[in-house]
Amino acid sequence: MSPWQFVADLANPDLAFLPKALTIAVLSAVMCGVVGCYVVLRGMAFIGDAVAHAVFPGLAIAFLFSGSLVLGGTIAGIVTALLVSVFAQNRRLKEDSVIGIFFVAAFALGIVVISRAPGYAGSLQQFLFGSITGIPDRDLYIVGGTTIVVLLAVYLLHKEFVAVTLDREMARALGLRAFWLDLILYVLVTLAVVMAVQTIGNILVLALLVTPAATARLLTDRLAVMMLLAPAVGAGGALIGLYVSWSWDFPVGGTIVLTLTAAFLLAHLFAPRHGLIARLA
């Protein structure tokens, strides 16, 4: 299918779900790209994964009671982030163990809950691997509003997030509340992830959080550039992925992830100064 035909399909009123899916995929990729920069730089990809999986029981419960999936997922993600933050205060356990316990537990709870829903195999697959159909109009507004909230929070708290990442102890000495900043960051990760779950799926959403930011990191040594590049890469991956998936009838989540992975590999090879080719030359 030519790109032109894809544009025509986007404008076709009979395929109204397609522009909706594209909007949501691009906006959530932008959010995940920006927040993902902190995730990558702090080496907290694992907690990103945890939060992504932890939203699952919230989605399942919301699905069972026909509530808002976005709201259910957000609450479940934040509860898990809170539990991890609190339990990680215990010095005997490292944070990754605590995360390992709670995110699998949350995921297990989700599976148990959704098994009570009629026709659960189909909805399970939709949650895990994403889908571009069946997105209500209301979700467009929720995703749009959340994008504004997340980007605004990042804009306002950027220098604090940077200070805590650079040197946590020093940031505390300068009067920053490291615990609360961590928690806010987890909430932002949760929001970005929940928005992306619907199109890209629960299992694959980590790619949206980590891959664009990691790609951007390979291309620049300047944080400001990285935080513009990462959402651009994510949004580009979402657009191209959706186009390829629509043209050849591939699952949308998997296609977007593979597109982003290709971008990462290209950056690894061709990045200026630090790329494989530049180093060999």
């Binding site: 730089l41 220098k159 940077v162 650079l166 040197d167 020093m170 300047r222 944080l223």
Partner: protein
């Protein structure tokens, strides 16, 4: 002389275990003091107590303002930040929540970089600096707040000789205007360059000018070593003639 840092009867714990007890310490403006003691003596804990990072179990700390230069491994060097970004991060508390740095803040960062002779590297990514340059970035980040006392936590660890000497010159220079308290394991260099030595092992065992600390028993007690120790010979202290302690 005004005290830039004064600790009176300070006791502090680390993870519920008492580390410091009855610490009395005073560092004046214009003074370069060394904080000496074995591992576990409480040097870092003393600095953290002076900064107000940990609660005191007893005693008081008085300081105009303290600037902290942590050990180099406490900083995330692979972060995509330039030298000037790293120094500016020292002002994050002063700039205030939800605000952006203004011209005056950047100028303060550049001034601090001037003081540590890194002005020409201000745009360089921190990941591309040498060990000595990294140490100077951390010093500049502390200086940007114009502290009355600068607390240096083992700044020489892992640095080669020219880098150590350049830094020592820098610290001596800084100590002309402010007070500097430096924790270090390099006893000989500290004895040679610092105005005053503070010997710490859970409490201040002794403090004074190098010439005033010639009694080997003080050093043996601080570092828990015997009369045959290399330490005493390296510092050219008189050999103890009679057994000390039991």
């Amino acid at each position: 002389m005004t005290a830039a840092l004064e600790m009176t009867g300070v006791a502090a714990d680390l993870g519920g275990r008492p580390v410091l007890r009855d610490v009395n310490l005073r560092v004046d403006a214009g003074e370069f003091a060394a904080l000496l003691g074995p591992n576990g003596a409480g040097k870092t804990t003393l600095m953290r107590a002076a900064l107000g990072l940990i609660p005191l179990r007893a005693g008081t700390v008085t300081t105009g303002s303290a600037g902290y230069v942590p050990q180099r491994h406490d900083f995330t060097w692979d972060f995509p930040a330039s030298v000037e970004d790293a120094v500016l991060s020292g002002l994050v508390g002063r700039i205030g929540l939800f605000r952006r740095p203004r011209v005056a803040h950047w100028q303060a960062a550049w001034h601090a970089l001037d003081q540590v002779h890194l002005a020409d590297l201000r745009k360089r990514p921190v990941g591309e600096l040498s060990g000595g340059q990294r140490q100077r970035v951390l010093v500049a980040r502390a200086l940007v707040l114009e502290p009355a006392v600068l607390l240096l936590d083992e700044p020489f660890t892992g640095l080669d000789m020219p880098a150590q000497e350049t830094l020592t010159e820098l610290f001596t220079h800084i100590a002309r205007e402010r007070a500097v308290l430096m924790a270090t394991h390099d006893l000989a260099a500290a004895a040679y360059t610092c105005d005053r030595l503070v010997l710490l092992n859970r409490t201040v065992v002794a403090a004074g000018r190098t010439a005033e600390l010639r009694d080997p028993a003080i050093w043996m007690r601080t570092f828990d070593v015997g009369p045959g120790s290399h330490l005493l010979k390296a510092l050219a202290l008189p050999v103890p003639t009679e057994p000390v302690g039991a």
